[in-house]
């Protein structure tokens, strides 16, 4: 029941906002999001509640069941979504949108869909929520996006659906092959496909997530979209939506086509790592702060994917842990971008500089966010990256992979510090009149930074959550 509540609270609140368009939509949305967060945190803290299943007949003719539930990985994702969304919604407080109620409604819809994705135990259910999460974003981008939004939104939409349809094909194929046709994950995971089928089916299943994340050759939509999207849209995209990709890989790719993964593993890892390096490299010369963040996200995600495909305890748990870190990072980083943009009136790095003189607190907050971005130890990112590097190392030829992957921490340091310097440091900018970070900014950023530091300092609660499901995933390998 509580799972249904998770789906419905944001959805109904969103509908309410959409229909009634109240003046204090942000507060209402925030309350809803916080309520969800409370529920999820309660689920997390309650011992022995790691797998709750709700099963209800859905389409009896096709043997489909409406089945919700979660394991440790799912719970982590739920937690991530639930924790991040209040922040994403709160980020709207500073934005001057037309029709804020609609924005909030769309965000809540996304949240609802995301909860659905992370809870569904049925492939079709998963897919429905997976695509559903895209729609609010489509409108968010279309209405509130920046320059050239019509074309870019379209590109984003189609590209993502391109992956989505490939996944759909993959699901359909698996369901057809599976005797009960129930599309339940348990049934699908028990499916054993022939080797050569697995080899090609891998791409059908993987493509959607590769695009969603995105990893290297499938990333073309990402920088433009991130840059163009409204702040909250980018936060949602980068913070939470792309985690669906990781989650999907764990749900679909690994258990269903293990031999396919085996076959393509090093290809994917190299793709991801090359992408990470490539994006990290490009990020350095970006003149637009938001685009820089976009490429940095791309770079991080490459490592995430590589870690995941290391397919060992460290790789997977590191990747998942890093997913959380990345969510927090993206949201806080983008908030900073927004804050800077509001003050400087631009995101063009070449027109900035010396802001710290007027906004020392903002600079300090920026820096605290930044240390997470460069994966300094005792931040969340470090734990994740550390585990991933170890995971990569343990592979055959893992040394080179790890080497290439670790290089991203250099690139990360280069572009992040560069960005920081361009924005904040340097001689006084005479034309700039900026107010320092105010109470709201602190209220937003400090908790996020606290999460980063606390979980960087004491990652055990999350890691503990992952242990069992990761082991279960790995058992597929044998």
């Amino acid at each position: 029941m509580i799972l249904i509540a998770l789906l419905l609270i944001p959805f109904l609140t969103g509908t309410l906002l959409l229909v009634a368009r109240p003046a204090h939509s942000l507060v209402i949305a925030l309350i809803s999001a916080i309520a969800c967060a409370v529920i999820v945190v309660a689920l997390w803290l309650m011992p022995g509640s790691e797998v709750v299943t709700l099963e209800h007949s859905w389409i009896p003719q096709w043997g489909l069941n409406f089945k919700l539930g979660y394991d440790g990985i799912g719970l982590l994702m739920l937690l991530l979504t639930a924790v991040i969304f209040p922040f994403i919604i709160a980020a709207g407080a500073k934005e001057t949108y037309e029709n804020p109620a609609v924005v909030n409604a769309l965000l809540l819809f996304t949240q609802s869909a995301l909860f659905g994705v992370f809870m569904s135990q049925n492939a079709f259910l998963f897919y429905i929520f997976y695509e559903l999460s895209l729609l609010p974003l489509f409108f968010l981008l279309l209405f509130w996006g920046g320059a050239n939004r019509r074309a870019i939104t379209m590109r984003f939409f189609i590209y993502t659906l391109f992956g989505g349809l490939a996944l759909l094909f993959g699901i359909a194929y698996c369901v057809v092959q599976e005797p009960s046709h129930s599309a339940d994950f348990t049934a699908l995971h028990a499916l054993h496909l022939p080797y050569d089928v697995q080899v090609w089916l891998f791409w059908a299943l993987f493509l959607a997530f590769a695009v969603k994340l995105p990893i290297f050759p499938f990333h073309s939509w990402q920088p433009d979209t991130y840059t163009m999207a409204p702040l909250q849209g980018t936060m949602t995209l980068g913070g939470v939506l792309l985690k669906m990709g990781l989650f999907g890989i764990l749900r679909f790719v690994f258990p269903i086509v293990p031999e396919g993964v085996e076959f393509w593993r090093s290809t994917v890892i190299w793709m991801s790592i090359i992408g990470a390096l490539y994006a990290g490299w490009i990020a350095f010369r970006q003149t637009d702060l938001k685009r820089l963040v976009a490429y940095s996200s791309l770079s991080h995600v490459g490592i995430l994917c590589a870690g995941l495909f290391a397919w060992n305890t460290y790789g997977i748990s590191g990747s998942l842990y890093q997913a959380f870190a990345h969510a927090v990072l993206v949201v806080s980083m983008l908030y900073i971008v927004g804050a800077v943009q509001r003050r400087a009136g631009t995101t063009d790095l070449s027109k900035m500089g010396g802001m710290k003189l007027q906004t020392p607190r903002l600079a300090a907050l920026f820096f605290l966010v930044l240390i997470n971005a460069v994966a300094l130890p005792l931040t969340q990112s470090f734990v994740g990256e550390w585990l991933m590097f170890n995971g990569l190392w343990q592979l055959e030829n893992g040394g080179w992979m790890a080497l290439a992957a670790v290089l991203t921490i250099i690139l990360g340091a280069v572009y992040m510090l560069y960005a920081f310097q361009r924005v904040m440091l340097g001689p006084e900018n005479k034309t700039l009149v900026a107010v320092d970070a105010d109470r709201d900014d602190h209220l937003f950023l400090v908790p996020l930074i606290a999460i980063t530091l606390v979980l960087g300092f004491y990652p055990a609660p999350i890691l503990h959550l992952l242990e069992a499901p990761v082991q279960q995933l790995l058992s597929v390998l044998n």
């Binding site: 073309s220 970006q286 305890t313 340097g426 004491y458």
Partner: protein, 648 residues
């Protein structure tokens, strides 16, 4: 036991507390209160360290055994585990501290010298509006450094490792209005990061073969590894050390790091952080001892670095830059010692170097303070009358670094020279050359600064110069005392000592027990005499050239070609710029302009456009002409018919 645990936890906790509190209350803390608080924290930390040291079983054991401890006492290593930090699968990385001789030594250095420098900073940074921030960062640095030295496993050390890098970045770029400083800070961080890559990889490798990263376990299991593996691992760890300790090829950041406030240079870039690399190697000496190839690499890296940077030091005119190059050079010497397997000598030099280099930096800071920010030694001179305390302490520091017998530097450097001689006389010659160069430029510095007449602008006598306040001179004096007597910490047998430091460290670092000095006393005396003689000669040379200088040195640009090359730091910065920075930027730009803008994005958009164009084309078929429609239908039908009926 509980008391020890608590004390251990308190050691890093105080600076952390100080860092957080001063950071948060940086607006509220007026005047010196931030500095006071921060200093107090470090002092408390120091006190805890001292208590720990005093309570350390080994100390008692050493005393009781008349300092003739053959085997490390039981309980010499005390692990304080706070909680499981990263614990998943087979990986268990506890958040734990390791209290043993090595860490205690480093803790004492860090907190001890740290306290002094904090105290000094109260005076030095007095006028800076962001003084609280400064102290916060300085405290944070101490915290990180303590984590580095106290960590019970490699990952803990890595936390500190990166932490000090971060603080270094912050403090180098403390005066953020100057782009060059920011650049220097960034350079330092990135270069450190390059080293960190090696470190991380080394750890990953180590973990994959041993399944643990706890020092005690790793050292115990080190023997089980193949030589290739160990060589690989140690080389990677050494890359980390190179980055942090500013060795070739990653040394260029350290001179630039002088952009930071002088106390920072003293604490971070002379006394503590830069020695982290040496610490790391000593810490894992059990591994390094098993990897002769790595040791050779370390040896030659250190040697070349020290020679190269010592030569650069001769031509530097910035007071802090001279010291910086000297630091790099001295670090190189330490690496030489490490490469020779003389771990105790290295650690000894770390300790004495911490004393006298901190002293020198603080003295330089005092001079700069006195001259209102002037750093060019060509524009100084004749200050010995004005700033007496500074002069005296600086002189002591110079003597110590030059290796004048009796001063601390003499003993530690001598240990390294002996080890070099023992390995090969040519090595001795090389290290000797470094010593002489050091001696030369240090005295050049001393003479140009304090002797002769004031050459600066505006005033004939430098009347506006003034001695620094007490809060700054007291640390100078303390450090001067330490610089003088520091050598007795590890007084060699030759002088009737028992090398207490070596024996103490032996209990912690396995590599040390493998050291054997087998030179005869005569040889030692001879070598020492030669050394001292040459050093004195060098001082005389320096006096001759710079002692009574009243005119400005020529601009480095006007030097002869070879000297100019050296003065320009062998053009290494330029080399790196064209070798790495430029290609990096070029790639960054072209990955974007070609990779993204000309390949990836057009591919995406192009596929869409192609489809659309196809659509446009196909739309033409719908011409509205009925004849065409009919014809199309019939032809389609015929094709289908032929294809289906005749190919079955």
């Amino acid at each position: 036991m509980v008391k020890t645990d608590l004390l251990t936890a308190l050691v890093p906790a105080f600076p952390l507390f100080g860092a957080v509190v001063t950071a948060i209350l940086r607006r509220k803390l007026k005047g010196n209160s931030a500095g006071m608080l921060a200093t107090l924290m470090i002092v408390l930390s120091f006190v805890c360290s001292v208590v720990l040291f005093a309570g350390h079983e080994v100390v008692d054991a050493l005393h009781s055994a008349g300092m003739h401890q053959e085997h490390p006492a039981e309980g010499a290593t005390h692990i304080v585990k706070l909680f499981d930090w990263i614990n998943i699968g087979g990986m268990q990385v506890p958040f734990a501290f390791q209290i043993d001789a090595l860490s205690l030594t480093m803790m004492l250095i860090v907190t001890g010298i740290g306290s002094l420098i904090h105290l000094y900073s109260i005076g030095y940074m007095h006028d800076d509006p962001r003084v609280a921030t400064f102290f916060s960062q300085l405290n944070l640095f101490t915290f990180a450094m303590l984590l580095l030295v106290m960590g019970a496993n490699f990952v803990m050390t890595f936390i500190g490792w990166e932490g000090v890098g971060l603080c270094s970045y912050l403090l180098i770029g403390f005066w953020y209005k100057t782009p060059a400083y920011n650049y220097a800070a960034r350079k330092a961080f990135v270069m450190n990061r390059i080293g960190d890559v090696g470190f991380v990889l080394g750890l990953a490798w180590l973990f994959s073969v041993l399944g643990t990263l706890n020092y005690t376990e790793v050292m115990a299991k080190a023997g089980t590894l193949s030589t290739e593996t160990i060589t690989g691992i140690t080389l990677l760890l050494f890359v980390g050390a190179i980055g942090k300790s500013a060795q070739l090829p990653l040394f260029t950041w350290l001179p630039d790091a002088m952009a930071g406030p002088t106390p920072v240079s003293a604490l971070i870039h002379a006394a503590t952080m830069v020695t982290a690399g040496i610490f790391l190697i000593v810490r894992s000496s059990a591994l390094f001892a098993l990897a002769p190839f790595t040791q050779d690499v370390i040896l030659y890296t250190g040697l070349i670095t020290s020679l190269l940077t010592a030569s650069i030091g001769v031509f530097q005119n910035d007071i802090k830059k001279v010291l910086a190059y000297s630091t790099v050079s001295q670090l190189g010497l330490m690496f030489v010692a490490l490469g020779l397997g003389a771990y105790s000598a290295a650690m000894f030099h770390v300790t004495t170097h911490a004393f006298f280099k901190a002293l020198l930096f603080l003295g330089a800071g005092s001079v700069i303070h006195a001259l209102g920010g002037e750093q060019d030694i060509r524009k100084m001179g004749g200050l010995k009358g004005v700033t007496k305390i500074t002069y005296v302490t600086f002189l002591i520091g110079t003597l110590a670094i030059a290796g004048i017998p009796g001063f601390s530097g003499f003993f530690s450097k001598d240990a390294i020279l002996m080890a070099a001689y023992q390995e090969h006389p040519m090595l001795y010659v090389a290290t000797m050359a470094v010593s002489l160069l050091t001696c030369f430029y240090m005295f050049r510095l001393l003479f140009l600064t304090f002797f002769g007449t004031y050459r600066g602008p505006g005033s004939e006598t430098g009347t506006h110069a003034h001695e620094s306040p007490l809060v700054m001179t007291v640390p100078l004096m303390v450090l001067a005392v330490l610089s003088v007597f520091g050598g007795f910490l590890n007084l060699p047998h030759l002088f009737g000592g028992h090398e207490p430091m070596k024996h103490y460290l032996e209990t912690a670092a396995d590599g040390i027990s493998g050291e054997h000095l087998f030179l005869s006393e005569t040889t030692e005396w001879t070598v020492m005499a030669i050394t001292v003689g040459l050093i004195l000669a060098t001082i005389a040379l320096a006096w001759n050239r710079f002692g009574k200088k009243t005119t400005l040195d020529p601009d480095p640009e006007n030097l002869p070609a070879f000297q100019r090359l050296i003065a320009r730091k062998w053009k290494i910065d330029e080399l790196y710029a064209s070798l790495f920075e430029k290609p990096y930027q070029w790639l960054s730009e072209h990955f974007f302009s070609i990779g993204e803008r000309m390949i990836m994005t057009p591919l995406m958009i192009g596929s869409g456009h192609t489809t659309e164009r196809l659509g446009k084309l196909m739309r033409r078929f719908q011409s509205g002409n009925m004849s065409f429609y009919l014809f199309g239908m019939v032809m389609g039908m015929i094709v289908l018919l032929v294809w289906t009926l005749y190919s079955v």
